[in-house]
């Protein structure tokens, strides 16, 4: 599975690089440089996130997670998860690693989906650090308020589907 995905991703890279090369050498170089720079900037953050998450899973209080966020926790669990997601700080890895850790410790799938959806959509620090400087502030608030019900809907969908 992992190998297939790797091959697919690198095929996409190859096709895009080829198109860029057709349009000129400069464009190709620019793309490679921009991509490599982003990668280097991300490295330390990913390392901390991945290595930290394993320990986080061990350190999380398991005996709390199952009753509050377990499959039986229903709507209240989804609400707690949504709040937790909105308040979780950190880059792309932190939310996923906490979610994965909670899942391993006995949280229900809809609750974890609500958590990672809320975290992805309106983690407060991200609105302030990324969106507000790059877009009109009122647009950001509009987007955040329009997103408010989505974690609940995602969790409800997951419950309806009965998967994962």
């Amino acid at each position: 599975m992992m190998v297939v995905i790797n091959i697919f991703l690198w095929l996409v890279v190859g096709v895009l690089a080829f198109i860029a090369a057709l349009r000129g050498r400069v464009l190709l170089n620019e793309g490679v440089r921009a991509g490599a720079m982003e990668f280097i900037l991300l490295l330390p953050r990913i390392a901390i996130g991945v290595i930290g998450s394993g320990f986080l899973a061990e350190a999380l209080p398991n005996e709390w997670i199952a009753p509050w966020l377990g499959p039986g926790s229903g709507f209240l669990g989804v609400t707690i998860a949504t709040l937790g997601g909105a308040l979780t700080p950190g880059g792309p890895v932190v939310g996923f690693s906490i979610g994965a850790a909670a899942l391993k410790s006995g949280a229900g799938a809809p609750q974890v989906i609500a958590y990672s959806t809320a975290w992805a959509l309106y983690a407060i620090h991200r609105l302030l650090i990324w969106e507000v400087p790059l877009m009109p502030a009122r647009m950001v608030w509009l987007r955040a308020s329009a997103s408010l019900p989505l974690p609940f809907l995602a969790a409800a969908m997951a419950m309806l589907l009965g998967r994962p």
Partner: protein, 157 residues
């Protein structure tokens, strides 16, 4: 640290080793994701995108915006400027909201590069299926808010 103190050295090293392996497996994917993001940003004609999702593009505009959110890779550094540019060129607020939410929830590079290593394919696929209608819903909500009188442009200049 807490784990080290509580469970002792062997347990600590076991977790550390597992995490480092996971980290090593992620690297090629992350590099690929970064390169895809850089190339698409360079290659995609933004005027064309803005025309498709711009103005009063209606429900189709929301669908296209959702599709672009799914398609466009890259991190927040690339996505928010693109969304901001859409707004400037005249995309409507609903389409921009749909675009950002779609990118956040069902963007494939994000899912492949970040989410998959942590959650595994089964979880990620079902989460994305559960999230499919959400960008459209958010876009519709945003349009309702705008119609109700919410101003989304900073008029004070």
């Amino acid at each position: 640290m807490t784990v080290y103190a509580r469970d002792g050295r062997d347990h600590f090293l076991g977790i550390l080793f597992g995490d480092v392996t996971l980290f090593g497996e992620m690297l090629p994917k992350v590099l690929a994701g970064c390169l895809i993001g850089a190339f698409v940003t360079l290659l995609l004609p933004r005027e064309m995108v803005a025309r498709w999702v711009g103005h009063e593009s209606g429900f189709t505009g929301l669908l296209i915006a959702a599709f672009f959110g799914f398609l466009l890779p890259g991190g927040p550094i690339t996505i928010y400027p693109v969304a901001g540019a859409f707004l400037l060129i005249g995309a409507d607020a609903g389409a921009v909201v749909t675009f950002i939410v779609s990118w956040t929830l069902i963007g494939y590079t994000r899912a492949l590069v970040w989410e998959l290593p942590f959650f595994g394919p089964d979880f990620v696929i079902w989460r994305i299926i559960a999230a499919l209608p959400l960008p459209i819903i958010a876009g519709l909500l945003a349009r309702i808010a705008v119609r109700a009188g919410f101003k989304y442009r900073d008029d004070a200049k």
